[in-house]
Amino acid sequence: MTEWIRPPSLDEALAARREHPDFMLLAGGTDLMVGAIARPAPVGVIDLFGLPELSGVSRDPAGGLRLGAGTTFAALLTDDAVRTELPALWAAAREVGALQIQARATLGGNIGTSSPVGDSLPVLLALDAEVEVASSRGTRRLAYDEFCTGYRTHALGGDELIVAVHFPADIGRRVQAWRKVGTRRAQSISKVMFAASVERGADGTVTLARLAFGAVREQPIRALAGEQCLAGETPDAALAEAVAAAVLTDIAPIDDVRSTADYRRTVAGRLARRFVLSLA
């Protein structure tokens, strides 16, 4: 890495991105600086940490929350709107690495790295988040499950930057859940992550169901069979078993250095079952 650029504004960041498509983007550096041991070194870095236009939480015109891509997990944790309307994301932010990581790691960086074990990513699926990207040509918004295209890949164009994440206006009405299972509670890379949200009718039936997992496939996924099983039903013990069985058809975990496929299947089923039981 021979060159380092810190653009003072989004316009200049986009210009730098256009002129240096081969430079790596550094959001907080908590992944890039570690991955540097294993990857070919970048010729240069565009450092986006602290770029004012990418930081902070605001309300978009539709009434939903707009989280700047450069907002650190530490900043998300101190935001009242995030805590009350996006409790699943708040809980995930609290378990990303440890304090020293949360001080630098950003939501946009997590999305850009696009790892199957990115802690915030199942939450984005469970909460119907949209990713806002910008280039000198303009901006566009994609649902997160369109944005993430596979193992560590995504739909970001070579001249684009992730600028924000949007959540639906009524997201705070949903029951939300988050659970991370790792070797220890802090500073561990997840073996399985689970995020969920549901809306319920007056009679208690589930009218909308979102179940998402990380670390059980090549990318964070929604468990669509599990969701279908849950939607329209009234949660009880039998339904919990059925949903737990259904999510096993959604996932395809592998054995790796952190865990085994068997363990991940067992845990994924239990996380889904406990979530449904919590609604009963």
């Binding site: 380092w4 003072p8 002129e19 540097a36 041991i37 070194a41 440890a98 304090l99 020293q100």
Partner: protein, 223 residues
Amino acid sequence: MAERPPLDRPAPDGHGGGFSRRSFLKGASSVIAAGGVAARSLEAGMTEGAEAAGAGAPVISGETEITLDINGAARKLRAEPRTTLLSALRVRLPEPLTGTKEVCDRGNCGACTVIVDGRPVYSCLQLAVDLQDKRITTVEGLGSPEDMSPVQAAFCRHDALMCGFCTPGFVMATTACLDKHGTPSEATVRHELSGNLCRCGTYPHIFEAAQTAAKSRAGGGLR
């Protein structure tokens, strides 16, 4: 060692690069990282200097002089874009500050924890060039053997160390925790120190030390 000096590229004053807004810079040549699996390919894989900077964006290319605010004093040093804060402190400073320890060098163990603008961070994951407008506090900035900070004194009193190599990182993380919470619960202390590892297993004493330090600070003698 935190950083192997480039073998083939001495840093003649003002020639290896510089802080500029120039649109074209030919910077560093290739570099061989000397030995060891810990040699970061970020450092090892340097190639020819990149061309053309962003439209008016601040650029650092190759080695340049930077100024860091460390423990309240402006400290000048020569650094490259790849230089971590950890190696800046331990190796690059004309008068190195080696209280901050290097252990994993990959953001896992907490031994290199310093406080930047009030928050604990891993100095091994920070680029030094990125921190020129930030307040950096290292363990040397807390106190001295003759005049210890409440946290340092409490670690001694509670025998909160065995080999001591993780201790500076724990002292910094504890200081940041008490700065933020005053008198935190043990659960808060445990959570906020969870980014620091002690392989000797002195955690119970560390948590006791944190409580003692909180009380001693609440009674005055804040640092």
